[in-house]
């Protein structure tokens, strides 16, 4: 009984180590998409996640600040396109987050 209690308490204390920048649902959703795709533009990510422009911009800015994603502006037939992709650091952080959550949730 005591062992089980201490196990639960250990698991819960691991919650404190969770990367809060990834744990936020909108950012987690963006990262999940970018993990399975090579890159996507803002329009595609907006369509997939259902976030508003403002929300998407601010979350991607936050992820870019943490160097989890790379934002590249390119011109295709004179039209600007902003492509977002996951960095190696972002991939690693996402995989760590997944592992940690699996451990906590059993």
């Amino acid at each position: 009984m005591n062992t089980k209690k201490s196990e639960i308490s250990n698991n819960l204390s691991e919650l404190m180590d969770i990367d809060k920048d990834i744990h936020e649902p909108a950012r987690l959703m963006i990262l999940s998409y970018l993990f399975v795709l090579e890159s996507a533009d803002f329009i595609f990510l907006r369509g997939q996640t259902g976030l508003t422009w403002g929300n998407l911009s601010s979350h991607i800015a936050k992820l870019e600040e943490k160097q989890f994603v790379e934002v590249k502006k390119e011109f295709i037939r004179k039209k600007p396109r902003t492509m977002v992709s996951l960095t190696e650091k972002g991939k690693e952080a996402f995989l760590n987050y997944r592992e940690k959550m699996k451990e906590i949730l059993g």
């Binding site: 595609f44 422009w53 991607i60 902003t82």
Partner: protein, 218 residues
Amino acid sequence: MNENSDLEKLEKKAASSLYQDGIFDISIGHVLIAFGTASWLENYITETYSTLIAIAIYLVVFIPIWLVYFYVTKPRLGTVKFGIKRRRSNAIVMGLITSVLVVNIVVFILIFTEVIQFSGHEYLLAAVFGLIPLVIFTAMAYFLSYKRLYLTGFLFSVGFFLKEVLTLQGLDLYSNIVFISIGGIIVVIGLAYLIRFFKKYPKIKVNSHEYQEIGNQQ
């Protein structure tokens, strides 16, 4: 259960979202309508004219619908680059379609030159005709995560088979009606998806400063 299955599902969802505008369904369904009409017109005009009319009927829909794709639906869907696995799947589909088409052309030439004779086995030939689109569309549906194509493949298959069987029975008019009706069903499905797409993806109203903000951060 594979622990990565949730991510695989997400990737498939992203891939299938590219086909939710119904454009491909409309253009492929219209192939049956155009050829059914051409085949029906052969009763009244020469084969050359009926073929030209079929091409004209097809282009009347094909050109506007692909303009809609390039200028309306594609910009609303956005741009995405898939990973190696997806690109490999797309290459497999292209390879498979090319192989099936090459085999078809070779078989057609062999039948035309009477190297292969199907006399007495016409219904078998009808069944083979029916299987060709089923194989192509099933492969496309599987590798492209484009589930609707299973239904399209089935409908095409039924259409090809019935057209051959009814033609063999001398019921040319009915065989053309079958072709046109099945094409119509596929077009209607595509149109329903297109309407749903317009509702789901209205014209992008992007607050310019929000979009600019991201671009300027580099």
